[in-house]
């Protein structure tokens, strides 16, 4: 199939594959940039100003650079979580719920007496990871044991997580009678240390870097990773080879859940929030789908894509604040990028070359298993 790129099992073609992917990503970026240009020109009264803000604002100040790096670190985490399950060809979409309930669980630790001590920081992180892993495990075991569709179950869990978190915040975590939807600020010992003073760059950046390396090592240097990629590549072949796909499914979704939970801790214990608010996630988790798809689920490519996309997101946010173009324009751009990157638009060109060479016709006959349905 197109997502777990074919080169992943053949190291000798790694560089050609990588070059093709980079070209494809660049073409998608250029087309997305053109679309942004057109949309801004049609919707804004001051298009030049809006575009200048989009392109230059994120690196204009130390503070905005901090926003960008912080956003990229978080995008890396959600992208990693999605890439892990996508590589196993599981379309689990539970990062949102894992993030929200992970962050909510942290608040219980941080706002308890433990949160005042040094234990608050590590315990909060561990609790978030465990909650996230549990939320990944449940749909995983339901898929492996019962064949319950993971797309539906994880999405339903996301909605449940949102409501549960809102309930816990309103009833349990907010000071009684205040009517607020935001908790007190977490005590200092429970917060991530800030790495660059005056910015949002904090311990979360280290976690993001470590997670990238850990996922890369797990996927490409362990037998678990090899099995996972084999299952994602061709589940039936993997089964004939003696690999238990069920174990891989459950473990991939659990590990991805742990990453999602850690991201929840990065949100609420980090410099960006330092407290728990209803709706703090704001649909962020699903940005990881774009990051994972554009990075072709390669762990080492994910931070690079996250840096690019984070820049675009921050530029759009600042454009939203300073000019008349709404930040939601990014949703449109994101959709176009996903469509272009996931479609093999090199194919018509290749078919044309083949025809020139006299081999005729289409590169893939319709009805061949490759040209078939989603299981290609």
């Amino acid at each position: 199939m197109s997502m777990t790129s074919a080169g992943s099992l053949r190291p000798q073609s790694r560089w050609t594959a990588a070059r093709r992917e980079i070209v494809r990503a660049l073409v998608a970026l250029v087309i997305a940039a053109i679309v942004t240009l057109v949309v801004v020109f049609f919707t804004s009264k001051a298009p030049i100003e809006a575009l200048t803000t989009l392109v230059t604002a994120p690196i204009s100040k130390t503070r905005t650079i901090g926003l960008w790096i912080d956003d990229a670190a978080k995008l890396t985490m959600t992208g990693l979580a999605f890439s892990l399950v996508f590589q196993a060809r599981q379309f689990a979409l539970g990062v949102q719920g894992q993030l929200i309930l992970g962050g909510t669980a942290v608040a219980f630790v941080a706002l308890s007496p433990i949160g005042q001590t040094w234990v608050g920081l590590p315990l909060g992180i561990v609790v978030a990871i465990l909650v996230g892993a549990l939320l990944g495990f449940l749909p995983g075991i339901a898929k492996a044991r019962l064949g319950a569709n993971e797309i539906v179950s994880t999405l339903m869990l996301n909605y449940i997580a949102v409501e549960l978190s809102n309930y816990l915040i309103r009833v349990q975590l907010v000071p009684p009678g205040s009517g607020l939807l935001t908790t007190d600020r977490f005590p200092k010992p429970s917060l991530y240390p800030v790495l660059v003073a005056g910015t949002r760059i904090d311990l979360g950046l280290i976690f993001a870097i470590l997670s990238v390396l850990a996922v890369w090592f797990a996927l490409y240097r362990t037998s678990w990773g090899l099995k996972l990629r084999l299952v994602g590549h061709n589940a039936r072949f993997a089964e004939y080879a003696g690999i238990k796909p069920n174990f891989i499914t459950v473990s991939a979704m659990t590990v991805a859940g742990a990453i999602g939970g850690l991201l929840g801790s990065m949100f609420v214990q980090g410099a960006a929030f330092g407290q728990l608010t209803t709706g703090f996630e704001g649909g962020f988790a699903f940005e990881g789908v774009l990051v994972a798809i554009v990075a072709r689920n390669r762990p080492l490519a994910i931070p690079i894509v996250a840096l690019f996309y984070g820049y675009l997101r921050q530029g759009a946010q600042l454009m939203n604040i300073r000019t008349d173009v709404p930040a939601e324009v990014i949703g449109v751009v994101a959709a176009i990028i996903i469509l272009l990157v996931s479609s093999s638009f090199s194919l018509p060109g290749r078919a044309w070359l083949m025809r020139l060479a006299g081999r005729g016709g289409r590169a893939l006959p319709a009805g061949s298993p490759l040209a078939g349905d989603g299981s290609q």
């Binding site: 569709n149 179950s153 959709a335």
Partner: protein, 314 residues
């Protein structure tokens, strides 16, 4: 508790269920068509949302039926885009669905802001219209059950009746016409219809267009009858519940009708419960449809697993 039972079996609640089930049923039928043709339409929720916005914006400037048509056509166009990227550009259908979802969440807010000149949350400044309710109060004349029939059947959206007819129409199409047979064959084993000279790609493309158009119609019902006007993310996961309803309904039109009505009933319950039990936290009430969907999915999967095991044993 007695109040709850009385409420659930009241005619007013049955009428509520018909109302809440209609958008769900339309989207579920859309999901069914795509699923039978072999493509899982993950974008149902996003397409509904786009249908909502199209219907609201069009009906603000034109009669109500143009609004409904706009929802339908907007859905169909999105379906054509999906078909193009999936079938021509060979993109994975699930990824295409993700892209359409991203487009819908951001794009509808962006589109609303353009259509209203800056509003982002709701279309409160847009005088959008409603689908007229169909008055069947003449049923009162039937002796005995007349008033009961009226309270259940009268005052529903025009689209509720369309949806009910579509269940029958789609059943007839799928099981009594050659095109329905082609569609099911394409989803089941594409090589066979290919060998029989049927254009598999064409069947798939039309299935996606129809699937998305039905979801768009569901959006029109949602934004022009269940609620009047557009709110960001107003579908609240209905499209994903519809995806679950397709599975639960065993991929049969009548099955998905029952599944959609079941989920619609729990959706209706969330509107009734707060008035009856004010001590239940509203967040927990809003959770009900999603919890029920997961339970239904798990139970259905257990049953399907068991059926598979029995077939293997035989």
């Amino acid at each position: 508790m007695n109040e709850l039972i009385l409420t659930i079996f009241s005619a007013a609640f049955l009428a509520t269920v018909i109302r809440t089930s209609t958008p769900l049923l339309l989207a579920t039928l859309g999901g069914l068509i795509a699923d039978l043709s072999g493509a899982l339409n993950v974008a149902l929720d996003g397409i509904m949302l786009i249908g909502c916005l199209a219907a609201v914006v069009a009906s603000a400037h034109a009669p109500w039926y143009v609004g409904v048509l706009a929802g339908l056509v907007a859905g169909g166009v999105v379906g054509a885009v999906m078909a193009f990227f999936h079938l021509r550009m060979k993109a994975d259908i699930i990824i295409v669905g993700f892209a359409i979802s991203a487009l819908a969440t951001g794009g509808t807010v962006f589109g609303l802001s353009i259509a209203t000149g800056g509003d982002k949350g709701t279309s409160i400044n847009l005088p959008s219209k409603a689908i007229p309710a169909i008055d069947l109060s003449f049923l009162d004349a039937i002796p005995g059950i007349g008033p009961f029939l009226t309270s259940i059947l009268s005052g529903h959206s025009f689209l509720s009746w369309v949806a009910a007819l579509l269940v029958f129409g789609i059943w007839y199409f799928l099981y009594r016409t050659p095109w329905g047979l082609w569609l099911r064959a394409v989803g089941e084993y594409p090589s066979a219809p290919e060998a029989a000279g049927i254009q598999v790609t064409k069947v798939r493309a039309w299935s996606l267009v129809v699937s998305a158009a039905l979801a768009g119609l569901g959006g029109a019902q949602l934004a022009m009858f269940n609620y009047i006007g557009f709110t960001a993310n107003m579908t609240a996961g209905r499209g994903f519940i519809a995806l679950g309803a397709v599975l639960l309904g065993a991929r049969h039109p009548v099955g998905v009708l029952l599944a959609a009505v079941l989920f619609g009933a729990f959706d209706g319950l969330t509107t009734v419960l707060p008035g009856l039990f004010d001590w239940i936290p509203p967040e927990l009430i809003r959770m009900i449809p999603f919890v029920v969907t997961i339970l239904a999915l798990v139970l259905f999967s257990i049953r399907a697993q068991r059926a598979l095991a029995m077939r293997a044993a035989r």
